[in-house]
């Protein structure tokens, strides 16, 4: 007869613990691999120039100093660039939402002539890389004599094709009855869009905005092409130009600049990570 063999409880327990230790070790390893450059950047930004060049390098600053940060603002006047970046960021984000939401609503819930063609155009815009279009855009702004201002950094970015696509998909999932019901409740189209559709797509909208904000904040190529003078350039270019300071490569200053560049993105991500996960996961709200 078949005999049921009792599993050795002790052995099982040991196996479990060993597995947990190994798995935790690898997880930590991956974390360190990803986090180390960041930590190195932060650590270097608080070192003196001398220490940053020491060999072998020190892991943590021996003489903790914020000189690098001070000279960033006193010598380079980073605040001017930050202000430019912020103006661009806020205008691009707001204008994007203003265009994206009605466009997505129309594509999702209306029938009109040329709808397919127009949506196709949006998709094409989404797929063509900027490196292909920048010459003609450059020429356009050149003809309008708007180069070397903030405008060419804002206007070409206000139509977020990917956002329109993503939001449209989200709107399409909203049942038609809800809209009909709202129309029976005497709600106008604007109200339907703002009070019914948008609240139901909040997570998607936040995700799109966040991705686009990070993209705008980090954009380097476009402003480099469209501007000549520092007065209209964003923070990314300023930080790149830190490599060309008179004193040669001053690593603490460069790293301090990078910390300032990355900080807003990190903060944004921590604030909105829950919403991002929500948007990507399926939501079964009936």
């Amino acid at each position: 007869m078949y005999e049921y063999k009792k599993p050795n409880k002790k052995l099982l327990k040991v196996k479990k613990i060993v597995f947990a230790v190994i798995s935790t070790f690898f997880k930590l390893l991956v974390c360190v691999i990803f986090a180390f450059p960041f930590l190195w950047m932060i650590s270097t930004s608080f070192k003196t120039l001398y220490e940053s060049l020491l060999y072998p390098p020190t892991l943590l600053p021996q003489n903790f100093t914020v000189d690098a940060y001070i000279s960033l603002f006193e010598q380079v006047h980073l605040e001017r660039y930050i202000l430019n970046s912020l103006i661009i960021l806020v205008s691009v984000t707001l204008l994007q939402v203003l265009i994206m939401v009605p466009a997505a609503y129309a594509f999702a819930k209306y029938n009109f002539k040329m709808k397919g063609v127009l949506f196709g155009a949006v998709m094409v815009a989404f797929m063509v890389p900027t490196q292909i279009t920048f010459v003609s855009v450059f020429q356009m702004f050149s003809k309008m004599q708007l180069l070397d201002t903030l405008l060419p950094q804002i206007i070409p970015c206000i139509c977020n094709a990917f956002g329109i696509f993503l939001l449209r998909q989200n709107f399409m999932q909203i049942p038609e009855e809800l809209l009909e019901s709202a129309r029976l409740d005497e709600a106008g189209e604007l109200k339907i869009m703002l009070k019914i559709m948008l609240p139901m797509s909040k997570s998607t909208l936040v995700t799109i905005m966040l991705l686009s904000m990070i993209g705008t904040w980090n954009s380097y190529f476009w402003p480099l092409v469209m501007t000549l003078h520092d007065s209209v350039r964003p923070i990314t270019i300023a930080i790149q130009s830190l490599r060309n300071l008179e004193g040669g490569l001053e690593w603490p200053i460069i790293m301090a600049g990078n910390v300032i560049l990355v900080l807003p993105v990190l903060i944004l991500f921590f604030l909105a990570s829950k919403k991002i996960i929500e948007a990507m996961a399926y939501r079964g709200v009936k």
Binding site: A182, E186, A187, I196
Partner: protein, 356 residues
Amino acid sequence: MGEIVFKNICKSFGETKVIEDLNLTIRDGEFTVLVGASGCGKTTLLRMIAGIGPATSGELYIDGEEISDVPPGKRGIAMVFQNYAIYPTMTVKGNIEFGLKNRKIPKAERETLIAEVAETVGLTPYLKRKPSELSGGQRQRVALARAMVKKPKVFLLDEPLSNLDAKLRVSMRTELIELHHRLKTTFVYVTHDQTEAMSMADTIVLMDRGKIQQMASPMEIYNDPNNVFTAQFIGTPPMNIQKMKDGKHQLGYRAEKVQLSETKPDLLYARKAVVLTREMLGSETIYKLQLEEADDGSGKTAVMAKTPNLMFEVDSRVYIGVDRKDLYYFDEEGRRLRGDGISPSLEKMTAEGGES
């Protein structure tokens, strides 16, 4: 008040004609049920009244006023959708309030109206909840409350009970009937369930393929069907319909009028049969019986019988009989023959059955 008149209404979706030249008057203050199989055009009619699926051509009146160009919100109607269509991001109160706010009704008045309607449908403790925290029945009530608070001339209900479980459906049915008695406004109710139609309606409008088959009270539509379609759609199990010996006329009788016996009954219609299945429902038993030979000579055929008599076993041989007054005759196209239309020769054929 709310009388609804359809005049020469046509509706097509692309090439497909769903409704062709339909005329219908829904009487003021009545509980009218539009019933039919899916795709028969009943929901299409309802959406026309609501203004969210306009007719292709024809005229539509509420209270004698042509409303084809009136936007949905201004028609004095309220609608309850099959999937409730309550706004998931608003609270229960927000849902009820939304329409009132859009009408710019002052806040104090809104509060009284909401409190009133919440009390009526029993939602007062749930006003601050989100729809996702409610059960199916409670969501249904939110949808009802949202409709009621507008004090409409006409209530439109599109299969509002079909998402509820069987028990809740029956109790909501009674509640809806009571609600109608209290409000005394026009209710237009769409369903595919003939039991629902029979139990709730003042008037049933039975539809098939975009045409009205019969419009009558539940009693009349059950006892006096106009055609084979109506006879078979209303009532469970559906009416037994047999082709007659001439191959043209059709003979019908309800399962509940069939009498079963061991000896040949002295009735106009009497046939030999074998019991195929027996379903006991408690108060009644439904038999499925097989006739050896159909009247028109097409071979074996099955009929249903519903009777309190549960003594017949499966496979036993019985006689089925139907009284003369319980027989219905239909012509080739399935139209009902009445009075003089029933010739003595038809009755003779009935009595003879398949025997030549």
